[in-house]
Symmetry: C2
């Protein structure tokens, strides 16, 4: 039987045809071509760089509109947003939280910050995200409905929430997932860290569950240096999110009373100023990233041994990170070595959470598809500047 | 018996003589008179606003030098620095951590983030900070030395660390505290959030214990919008601090392996750029704040019913927040109302941690002095710009 062999040089040329030049091309770089400068300067000129200043409010308003939710609460980063989202969804110590094994470490860490245990489930090929139908089957197998919630009959712990993550910007089938989660009585905390601007059934992501979390890290489609936000349609939840992320201080002319454990997760005004200028450019970023997808698809079409990953049906993805799927897992490291050595920055998918030593004792369903994706997927240069 | 009555109008005039004008005077406002502008612009021009960029390194170097320690690790804020400092000092779930009851909420919250319980102790009048001699007596009463550490014989929990906090910049008697803590085998995590630039026995604060934590919040003597740092003289600890604050990712050309629970506590490069420019101006800020102390002391000298709080002996305080001590606690709220209504921003001390509902079940020693301080102390306008 003949071994499939990817033609690395042809692939390299096809990628270069899109990414251009012969210089180093990073995986993702931000672009500051808007009013970043004047907004940040205003912060410095007024002295409002920190917790005082209007850019945080403006940023939250712009964001809520873009994400189609009633409220956005800005945070120091996406990890902080997820942490508070989980707390607000009612995740308590020793609960279990369902998350895809195929995700960035922050999703699992945020569960841990609540004292809870991640419960890993499988993804599906069409979206690279949580497989709702498979989750439904799995819950039928292990779910034990009790008066005060759903329990995992294998571990005896309460299942407290489900966290879908929109991998590289591609939407999870949220309609199916919402149906499954409401059937089982589980709140959804949407990890929309990577998917700002993506649409699913013509609606933005982040507002499909009880709360959503976005990231504005330096490598995201829109950046605030470091930043994040909690999204929700519920005014009470938004109020609580603002309260907990700002040390849970009770409003008073001068007295310092804090009525629960709070966090210093407030986004500084100077970072919000950067974010406002970036959000103004989001439509342009989206158009260019989606255009890049068309060019990659075309250029890589004739290459045997891999396929370019296209957005799922009924979606418009922000194509945060572009990806190819190799036919042969064992060719992956050679591919990475070859491209990185020649200045095309590429990287594999994350190590599955279930394969990290530190989460090795956590419960999980069958993870066949996620294992397959993780072994064969490679990210390629994805900047809107390309 | 005659009731002492503070002359509020005379006090107001004496404060205005120093704080100037008749406009609104905030408690503390930052000043951006240095190279903030050009450093931040460089970040935007190069696109290095986030985790890539050299300002974080430079900021850490400058800070280490200023604080007289070998290593500084920049973080999203002072709360994050304290959290990681405690983890590194070995604080584990269900431990107790000794902290002053007179402190900002972040000190107690950071203990809670580790799953540990704050154990409140008293302060002393001369420093407004932790009373080392009283702590020593208290440990003699409740301390139970066992093979694997010191235990609280009243609660059965392990005592894991001591966190002195330098109130408003005034140094705790660290020499005494270091002696007491080494006698009892307790590591010190120094909450130096408020005391950047202060000297105790000619040495900066933050490096007297195993680790120290600084804050660069917008209201601090030097600001990064939001920011903090972990200080230490131990290279291993510094390395671990950097590792845990940056998601505990194991270095690799492309693979994503994380070897313990980590955090996204990295300070963005754009905030570090601001910090570098601010640190360059620290000597000037210090000189002006110390000059302000001389002026306040003079101006308030002849007012009956209060005294201006001066730095402890053997110290040079950064005078982060200036304070007066009222003779009569019951005159405090009237004082605050009077001054705030006339545009002089003043505020009381924090509510004692032991008096907050959420910490009401935590262990504590006698807290007589802290109660007295908290009832009588008021902060007055303190900006270096005054
Ligand atoms: C899936 C996912 N979740 C959470 C996060 C956390 O966001 P941040 O880096 O802003 O903390 C990220 C981004 O880094 C992410 O990709
Ligand atoms: C005593 C004390 N500890 C900790 C902190 C926390 O610092 P930050 O606000 O940067 O999180 C502060 C400042 O707010 C403080 O005053």
């Amino acid at each position: 039987m003949e071994v499939l062999q990817l033609d690395l040089d042809r692939t390299y040329q096809a990628l270069r045809d899109v990414a251009g030049g012969d210089k180093f091309v990073p995986l993702h770089e931000p672009q500051f071509g808007g009013r970043e400068w004047s907004y940040v300067k205003e912060c410095l000129d007024t002295g409002w760089v920190s917790s005082v200043g209007s850019y945080v409010d403006l940023f939250e308003q712009m964001l809520a509109e873009i994400c189609g939710v009633r409220h956005a609460v800005a945070t120091t980063n996406g990890t902080a947003a997820l942490h508070i989202g989980l707390l607000i969804a009612g995740v308590r110590p020793n609960d279990e939280v369902v998350i895809p094994t195929l995700t960035f470490i922050a999703t699992a860490n945020a569960v841990n910050y609540c004292g809870a245990v991640p419960h890993f489930v499988d993804s599906e090929w069409s979206t690279l995200g949580l497989d709702a139908a498979k989750l439904d089957n799995w819950l039928s197998e292990i779910g034990d409905r009790r008066e005060n919630g759903l329990y995992n009959r294998q571990t005896g712990r309460r299942l407290a929430a489900v966290v879908p993550m929109h991998t590289f910007g591609h939407p999870v089938k949220m309609q199916d997932l919402v149906a499954v989660c409401s059937k089982w009585g589980l709140p959804i905390v949407e990890d929309a860290a990577e998917s700002l601007g993506s649409l699913y059934l013509d609606n933005p992501l982040g507002g499909w569950g009880l709360v959503g979390a976005v990231s504005f890290n330096g490598n995201k489609i829109v950046t605030t240096g470091g930043g994040g936000a909690i999204l929700t349609n519920d005014a009470q939840i938004a109020k609580r999110a603002k309260h907990i992320t700002t040390t849970a201080k009770v409003p008073h002319a001068w007295a310092f009373v804090h009525d629960e454990i709070g966090y210093n997760y407030r986004l500084p005004n100077i970072n919000a100023a950067l974010g406002c200028a970036q959000l103004e450019q989001l439509p342009g970023f989206l158009a260019r990233k989606r255009q890049l997808a068309v060019r990659y698809a075309e250029s890589l079409q004739s290459i045997d041994g891999l396929r370019y990953f296209c957005e799922p049906k009924n979606c418009a993805s922000n194509y945060w990170l572009h990806a190819v799927i190799l036919d042969e897992p064992r060719e992956r490291d050679e591919f990475l070595q070859y491209m990185n050595a020649r200045g095309l920055m590429t990287r594999p998918c994350w190590t599955l959470m279930s394969e990290l030593e530190l989460f090795s004792n956590c419960p999980s369903s069958d993870l066949t598809v996620a294992r397959n994706i993780s072994a064969r997927l490679v990210n390629i240069p994805s900047s809107a500047t390309l």
